[in-house]
């Protein structure tokens, strides 16, 4: 009862709440600053579309795991709290898998291993321990969304670079057909910036580019993330002191 009274006094979406959403995108990014969740960032960033699906899944799992853990935080016995958190994460991940399998089977086939591995993603567990166990549901939910987005942002940036340089396409393989930013008239070559039907060498602005196979291999994601961290730190000076 006391909790409800306090909540009505504070604005539903004030400065603190905004900070919860924005902070993980830059100042406290789970990948580039906390260096968590690297494993899946290496695995699913070959295609932008895959990275997008993975990001949505992580945002969902992170947000709701935070919400449920926060709701239960006072009744979870301390001795089994890790197990309880894992049960919450695992069931949410199973829900994502079941729904994805019904919505888009080919994508499920390609991503199912990595979706399953969200359970072991340190970002989710880390937020539950560090935030949801000590904060109210609404804020925990926002914190989950923020961290999921921070993870997704890096994933998509890495995927864009890897797909362009590794395959010469952008958004290829998406089941929703898209052909954006293309030729002005019929006479020009039919190439697009974003073309879901593009194959390596055909149908994309980047088709002229000889594919760099290194960019397709997981090791390249490590280099790309490394360079991103470097760029972020040279631009955001306050991060340099932290580490």
């Amino acid at each position: 009862m006391a909790e409800a009274a306090v909540q009505t006094k504070e604005p539903l979406f004030g400065k603190k709440e905004r900070k919860l959403l924005i902070d993980p995108l830059n100042d406290n990014n789970p990948i580039t600053v906390q260096v968590l969740g690297i494993c899946s960032a290496l695995a699913v960033t070959t295609l932008v579309f895959k990275a997008l699906v993975m990001s949505i899944a992580v945002v969902f799992v992170c947000a709701f795991a935070n919400l449920f853990t926060s709701l239960l935080r006072n009744s979870i016995p301390k001795q089994v709290r890790m197990i309880a958190q894992l049960v919450i994460i695992a069931s949410l991940v199973t829900i994502v898998e079941l729904v994805l399998k019904a919505l888009n089977y080919p994508v499920y086939k390609e991503l199912s291993v990595f979706i399953g591995l969200i359970i072991t993603n340190c970002i989710v567990m880390g937020r539950l321990e560090a935030f949801a166990m000590a904060n109210k549901p609404w804020r925990s939910f926002l914190d989950g969304i923020g961290n999921g987005l921070g993870y997704g942002l890096i994933l998509i940036v890495v995927a864009i670079l890897r797909e362009i340089f590794g395959k010469g396409t952008l958004m290829a393989g998406s089941p929703v057909e898209m052909k954006l930013i293309g030729p002005n008239n019929e006479a020009e070559d039919i190439v697009y910036l974003i073309n879901t039907a593009a194959e390596s060498g055909i149908g994309s602005y980047f088709s002229w580019y000889a594919n760099n196979n290194l960019m397709v291999l997981p090791a390249s994601a490590m280099f790309v993330i490394g360079v991103l961290i470097w760029i972020q730190r040279s631009w955001n000076r306050k991060l340099v002191d932290i580490s």
Binding site: K78, V80, A84, L98, K101, P106, M215, L217
Partner: protein, 250 residues
Amino acid sequence: MHSTRQIYTFVLMMTTVVALVLAGLFTLLKGIHQKNEAVFTKRAILASVMPKEVKGMSDDDVISLFQSKVKQTVVDVNGNVISQDEVKKRRSIGAKPGLAEDLDLAKEKKQSDENRLFPLFEYETSEGKVFITAVRGSGLWDEIWGYVALKSDLNTVVGVSFDHKAETPGLGAEIKDNPAFPAQFKGKTIYNDGEYTSIYVRKGGAKNTKYEVDGISGATITGDGVAAMMYDGLKYYEPVFQKIKEGKLK
């Protein structure tokens, strides 16, 4: 501190709720899942004949095309036709009708040659009958498999479609991801100068245009796997081909 009793109550309640929610969702979506799986297999089979058209087809189109134009047969290694009832008796496939598409090909590969069952699809096209066979082998990391469509002369390849479990993206995975690789198989012949050659994946470029295709650079072992799969996989169908040619396959 919580007492042991409280902990047990909490854990029990939590697992019950989670189990009920997940079981409910699973039951709810089971029908859609099964349909998706069936359509996925059908698409892979049809992709060997017409890779581009299949991509644009809706799920319902695929199902109706399969029902109207594709004849399914299950055969054994000696080329004998196995009836649907016999398939149901020998394999636990649940409520499925025991057609060729219902076979779990990964499990069939583990059977001994005498017990193994093979699917055979006959597809009526405007240019005559096409026979589609299933092949299965090993790539670099894990299993690779595919469907090979042959013209009614049982020699000329109409097309192939490949898939894999865990080949490297950008290298071995190109057998599926890059349409140019399976496209090379079109028009190749598996019998050359009276000898069974199957189709060979040649590292560094095909030498014999009749039955060789170019390998993918950086994916030599996957390419060798595809070559071995094509050789062994189609060899299993030789007795069947013989019977079809003699008109003895019902």
